[in-house]
């Protein structure tokens, strides 16, 4: 217990200024190494794209960061907090938001209701029995809805939205939640080219005030983001650098791009 805490404190000293710090993170499921000594650091304000073939460990990495999975070994720190000791709600409260690969919105609630649920304010039951929206929160919701192009759909049931709209609604929920770090899993899956372009522009916009980690398969999209890229393979980092740099790496071509 103390040794682990000491190790974590040490890690924080070694990486001053990093917002997210993963070092030697290993996760094993029934003998299968989903993550194998994965190390990754995000600076505050950075946007990072993570790519990799299926099974490379991208989703497991997000599970570790958001507390869904606890690693067998390794260090996972977020702004001085040991993520391996916190559960999902605590990590969300600490300032990490997540958009899932398959858009998961609350179908029974309206678009407005989904944003309202995500809105950054107290999460306890007693605080929400007599909850009423303040003026600035109303403005904030309107701003989020127009940012994700759903202002006209605010009263529609979220379950009735198109796939692309659901993706945007979930990004809108992330905006309303206003976390310091956004984990965005395949935001343009199932989107048209035009929608993808808009989403890329939206993420760049979001990145002005937030640190963003985006997982994506679509190379055009990653190129449009124009950010540092990390390539995962078999649970660890294979290459890191600009999109042109990693695209030229023969190992990356072999495991991912060449196929």
């Amino acid at each position: 217990m103390n040794a682990a805490r000491h190790e974590a404190a040490l890690a924080q000293r070694l990486t001053p200024g990093s917002l997210l710090y993963l070092d030697g993170v290993t996760v094993t499921f029934d003998g299968f190494r989903a993550l194998n000594a994965l190390s990754l650091t995000l600076e505050p304000g950075e946007m990072r794209a993570v790519i990799g073939p299926n099974g490379a460990g991208k989703t497991t990495m997000m599970d570790v960061i958001t507390g869904k999975t606890h690693p067998d070994s390794g260090i996972a720190m977020f702004d001085g907090l040991d993520l391996t000791r916190l559960d999902e709600p605590a990590i969300a409260e600490a300032g990490i938001g997540r958009k899932f690969q398959k858009p998961t919105v609350f179908d029974e609630h309206s678009v407005l209701g989904n944003i309202l649920l995500a809105l950054k304010n107290p999460r306890g039951p007693h605080r929400n029995l007599l909850f009423t929206l303040r003026g600035e929160e109303r403005d904030r919701i309107d701003h989020v809805l127009s940012t994700v192009h759903l202002a006209d759909a605010r009263d529609r049931r979220a379950g009735e939205l198109s796939h692309g709209q659901k993706q945007w609604l979930e990004i809108g929920m992330l905006l309303a939640q206003d976390p310091r770090l956004l984990l965005v899993d395949e935001p343009v899956a199932g989107m048209t080219d035009a929608e993808s372009e808009e989403t890329a522009a939206l993420l760049v916009e979001i990145n002005r005030n937030h640190t963003v980690l985006v997982v994506e398969h679509d190379m055009e999209f990653v190129r449009a983001l124009d950010v540092r890229v990390t390539v995962l393979h078999e649970g660890s980092v294979l290459a890191e650098g600009s999109i042109d740099h990693v695209s030229a790496d023969p190992r990356v071509v072999e495991v991912y791009l060449g196929r």
């Binding site: 958001t66 609350f106 179908d107 929400n128 029995l129 007599l130 009423t132």
Partner: protein
Amino acid sequence: MTGAVALLRAIAADRAVPIAAVVILATALALAFGNSNGTVPNWLVPLVGKYLCYALLAVSIDLVWGYGGILSLGHGVFFGLGGYAIGMHMMRLIGPRGVYAHPVLPDFMVFLNWTELPWYWHGFQHFPFAAAMALLVPGVVALVFGFLAFRSRVTGVYLSIITQALTFATMLAFFRNDMGFGGNNGLTDFRDLLGFPVRSDGMRIALMLASAVALVLSLLGCRALVASRFGMVLVAVRDAESRVRFLGYRPEHYKLVALVISAMLAGLAGALYVPQVGIINPSEFAPANSIEAVVWVAVGGRGRLVGAVLGAVAVNAAKTWFTGALPELWLFALGLLFVLVTLFLPRGLLGLFTLRRSSIAATPAVRPA
């Protein structure tokens, strides 16, 4: 202040609940006046009072099942505990008028050769204490049960099975004479309540009206609860519990609050029920009773509050008629009703009136859990 305005607005937003509230109160008052001038027969008053208590029990189940996705098959425990609390009060009021004429001990304790009142029977001679216990005991049982179950993330059919075990275990415990609750005979032979004879016509009318008021207030309260942000989180937990966690909410806290409120409403229903039927015994804890109450909610339409009231009244009216006309067929009819409603009316009887919103039918809200 803004909270109160928001609450009123929330209640008014869905007109079904206020309309139902007016209909329930008007019906109850009409029956009361009709009975006092002789146009409504005496037997009808406690019968309607009983239906109203069942409706309140159904509303309490709808709160956790329809909105929180917690399929409790053990709400009979909370109903029965509320009933026992008020039953104990009425037992204490019998005093020396019992068969054995003991000044303090109820008859069954004298029969068991007990010489002293068990500690947990103290205080029940006071109505406010007994009334508080009728709400608090179910609430505390729900708090402990829910805390343990939700903390361990027990959900779905496993939770339902545990609630069945809870009600079955409670029934077995209350059957034991040395538990001190009258064993399999339960508590009966009540004389008076709040200074009036419990079997008088006036008392029957008063209890029926009290049940109507309790039902209406509970409906309005539940309506405000589910329309609040708390209720929105509860529905979100029902449809996508793990997703809610990633937004920073703790689903177990929300489910626990809902279960405790629901248990207290069920306790209130039981407390109003027992003086009207004149007896409470361990058969109220029979597992089948709790399941039957869930069937009422399914038949009426889950997740709408008003549906629970409709289902409870409709099924029990059918039961009253059937058990009079074709007693041996009732259980078959009930089973068939449940199968037919599940197959053809997934949104219950209420779904018949709200076909316009049929798009909702394909969502998890109405899928059988």
